[in-house]
């Protein structure tokens, strides 16, 4: 008898553990309906997770303190760190049912997490707890509503701009108010390199800052259309690739063998040493670039006069979403609303998420000099001529990696523009046929 008990004693926990592990591997089919608990006055704990720099962490922690002091029934547990690995961790948490109540979403993830995965709440269902009137409705509809669902509250407005080194422009007599298009880039960039063989107007291109916008300006279409077809003809991409090779051949762009180690231009030593003149980047990265290169200013992203669309990328800087499985969605909504619409919070957050979307708050920050004027100018520029919001398929990371790989081979001169265009089209079509 004793033996059997022993065996049971050992076997049962093992079986239980195995079963738990196997269950954890499966996905929950309940779909995670929002609970309808009434939380007024009750002690609630919310988990709020985000990524970012030290400045952002400090500001958000301060904001949380202010909020919890005014709302003693709410405890907010902050979980923060760097961007590297954040998405991987978040998806794993969603799969395991341990995702935080509140998390910002990078625009690239919205399609998977909010639309296909349906893991976050449609904030329209919580509008009684949110001050949605504070936001510009058109902005929300364009950049935070996907498939009819308000996936999050924009934490700031972000946009693609041309960021340039003022000292470099002065050194090469480039007018600060130059209106850039792809032709002027070629002409001026060539002159710069002829004057100084170590100087380049640009650092490097990737699919997001060059290939997609360049082709979109030619076609007026999304990069990948919603019906899962490519939004361009082969000759459009051939033009883009030929132009890129021309820039490299004429020394407008730093040789890719030198720049490929620095996917983030701000880290590129030649940029930091003042040998590269400008880059195309998002307004939210200006603070980081300024830590190395304080003397920068911004200009409009290159848009040719005959472009069918400006293709200037504008997006909400990390819409703040609420987990569908949150036990306290109403309290989470109240906090999110306070954080992103109240003047009190905006004075603490300043521009840690770029310029606030709520105009009254943005104006107040500019008026009080609490916001970096370069960032404010950058967002204004991008919003003055925005392109069509990028659809989910055009943000698909696997499809974009194909474009990036081929673009890199074009840059190394390993493949001719027309062959590259044909390969890109074929591979995208193959992959699109497999995407459900």
């Amino acid at each position: 008898m004793k033996n059997r008990n022993w065996r049971k004693a050992v076997a049962l926990p093992l079986v239980a553990m195995l079963a738990t592990a196997l269950t954890a591997c499966g996905s929950d089919e309940s779909g995670g309906k929002a609970p309808e608990g009434k939380t007024d006055g009750e002690k609630v704990t919310l988990r709020f997770s985000w990524w970012g720099s030290e400045v952002r962490h400090k500001a958000l922690l301060e904001a949380i303190d202010i909020y919890t002091e005014a709302n003693p029934n709410v405890v907010i547990e902050p979980e923060y760190g760097g961007f590297e690995g954040y998405y991987q961790k978040l998806v794993t948490q969603f799969a395991g049912g341990t995702a935080p109540d509140l998390t910002p979403l990078s625009v690239d993830w919205i399609d998977e997490i909010a639309v296909k995965g349906d893991l976050v709440l449609d904030l329209n269902t919580l509008k009684d707890y949110l001050n949605l009137d504070a936001f510009d409705k058109e902005f929300l509809d364009s950049y935070a509503v996907y498939d009819g669902k308000l996936v999050g509250l924009p934490m700031g407005a972000n946009g693609m701009i041309t960021l340039y080194n003022k000292e470099f422009f002065d050194r090469f007599d480039i007018a600060h108010d130059t209106v850039w298009d792809w032709e002027t880039i070629h002409t001026i960039g060539k002159q710069v390199h002829e004057k100084d063989a170590n100087a380049y107007l640009l650092g490097m291109f990737d699919y997001r800052i060059f290939l997609q916008p360049f082709v979109n300006q030619l076609t007026g279409n999304q990069w990948i259309q919603n019906d899962k077809t490519v939004g361009f003809a082969e000759e459009d991409v051939t033009k883009a690739f030929s132009y890129y090779q021309q820039l490299i051949a004429d020394g407008v762009i730093q040789p890719v063998a030198e720049s490929s180690l620095y996917p983030d231009m701000a880290d590129n030593l030649q940029w930091q040493n003042g040998n590269i003149g400008m880059m195309f980047t998002l307004a939210s990265t200006i603070a980081k670039v300024k830590t190395y290169t304080p003397g920068v200013d911004v200009a409009m992203f290159p848009v040719p006069s005959d472009a069918k669309t400006s293709a200037v990328l504008v997006n909400p800087s990390n819409p703040l979403a609420i987990n569908k499985k949150s036990k306290h969605p109403e309290e989470a909504a109240k906090f999110a609303s306070w954080l992103l619409t109240s003047e009190e919070a905006s004075l603490v957050l300043k521009d840690v998420f770029s310029v606030p979307v709520v105009k009254a708050n943005a104006d107040k920050l500019v008026e009080e000099g609490l916001i970096d004027p370069t960032v404010a100018k950058a967002v204004d520029l991008a919003l003055s001529n925005p392109g069509e919001p990028v659809n989910g398929l055009s943000s698909n990371q696997e499809l974009n990696q194909i474009a990036q790989d081929i673009l890199e081979r074009v840059a190394f001169g390993k493949v001719a523009p027309d062959a590259a265009a044909s390969e890109l089209t074929e591979r995208l079509k193959d992959k699109l046929a497999l995407i459900k």
Partner: protein
């Protein structure tokens, strides 16, 4: 004392049935003692192992429910994935360069350290240190700074009026630069070689000396043949490690430039954690498992021809 209580007390009970039963309490206690490992093995190795096999036949992205797709993942890998072919090619090249290079360095250092002198154990410790630091992220970052265009290595070359080399930016060179990192971690192979060298009977060296053999001849005719069992062991272990290499390529070059350092481990990582194609990545990891299995099997089979055992290799 009853029959059962006698067993519980560990008392002798005559008869075969009694003997059979007597072992059980002890073995259960043994299981209990090893349960931390057992639980770890089941939860962290066995379950993921089985789960990944099942997932390899599904379309699963962690966010949505998995759907069974049969062999579709395997068919896509072999027929529609040029990145798989590229990555496999890079990985094989990496294994072919890194493993022999590492074993040669390990053997050379082991021979250097196989001398009798004061403080030799300090030298042995010093040479083992890189293996403790290992292929960690911090070391990889350091490697990146050393080999970047403006890095320490090029700075040193400039002292000898040599032109800078684009170690990590040149697609033809980057893989070679990456292979130098694991070569640096030769410690565990070195220790095994050192132990092997100490086992070589001194009379064999004396005999070869009497026969007038040169040092090189002695190495190839005496030392190396007697070390072949250790070479085999090191070869297999290092080959398995090399096929699974990830950190160096991920941190130093991110698989670039032009996918020239896009090792199999990176491809797996990208499919699993960048594109969240868990089913597809599981299928790829099973293919890697089979590749390693085949290589190991071939090494074992061919080792009869080149690995020499003093007892003839049959344990007699």
């Amino acid at each position: 004392m009853t029959h059962q209580s006698a067993q519980a007390a560990g008392g002798q009970t005559p008869g075969s049935e009694g003997k059979r039963r007597k072992r059980k309490p002890g073995s259960l206690v043994a299981y209990l003692y090893i349960s931390p490992w057992l639980i770890g093995f089941i939860v962290l190795t066995l379950v993921p192992f089985v789960a990944s096999f099942i997932y390899s036949f599904t379309d699963y992205n962690m966010v949505r429910k998995q759907t069974f797709v049969g062999l579709a993942n395997y068919i896509e890998i072999f027929t529609k994935d040029p990145v798989f072919v590229q990555s496999l090619r890079v990985t094989l090249l990496y294994v072919v360069i890194a493993v022999p290079l590492k074993l040669i360095v390990a053997l050379l250092v082991a021979m250097l350290l196989n001398v009798k002198m004061r403080g030799i154990s300090i030298y042995r410790t010093i040479y083992y240190l890189p293996s403790i630091l290992g292929g960690s992220v911090a070391v990889s970052v350091l490697w990146r700074f050393m080999f970047m265009r403006e890095g320490l290595v090029n700075e040193m070359l400039s002292y000898f009026s040599l032109p800078p080399v684009n170690w990590l930016g040149d697609p033809n060179l980057a893989l070679f630069t990456i292979t130098l990192l694991p070569v640096w971690e030769f410690g565990s192979s070195m220790v095994l070689f050192l132990a092997g060298l100490k086992q070589v009977p001194a009379e064999l060296y004396e005999a070869s000396k009497v026969d007038g053999a040169s040092r090189v001849r002695t190495f190839f005719s005496v030392t190396l043949p007697l070390l072949t069992p250790i070479v085999l062991f090191n070869l297999i272990m290092q080959m398995i490690n090399a096929f699974q290499q990830f950190t160096a390529a991920f941190v130093i070059t991110d698989g670039g430039p032009m996918k020239s350092t896009y090792l199999y481990g990176m491809m797996l990582y990208d499919n699993a954690f960048q594109f969240f194609k868990m089913g597809y990545a599981s299928a790829q990891s099973w293919i890697l498992f089979l590749i390693i299995l085949v290589f190991t099997f071939v090494l074992f089979k061919t080792s009869n021809r080149w690995a020499h055992y003093e007892d003839g290799g049959d344990g007699k």
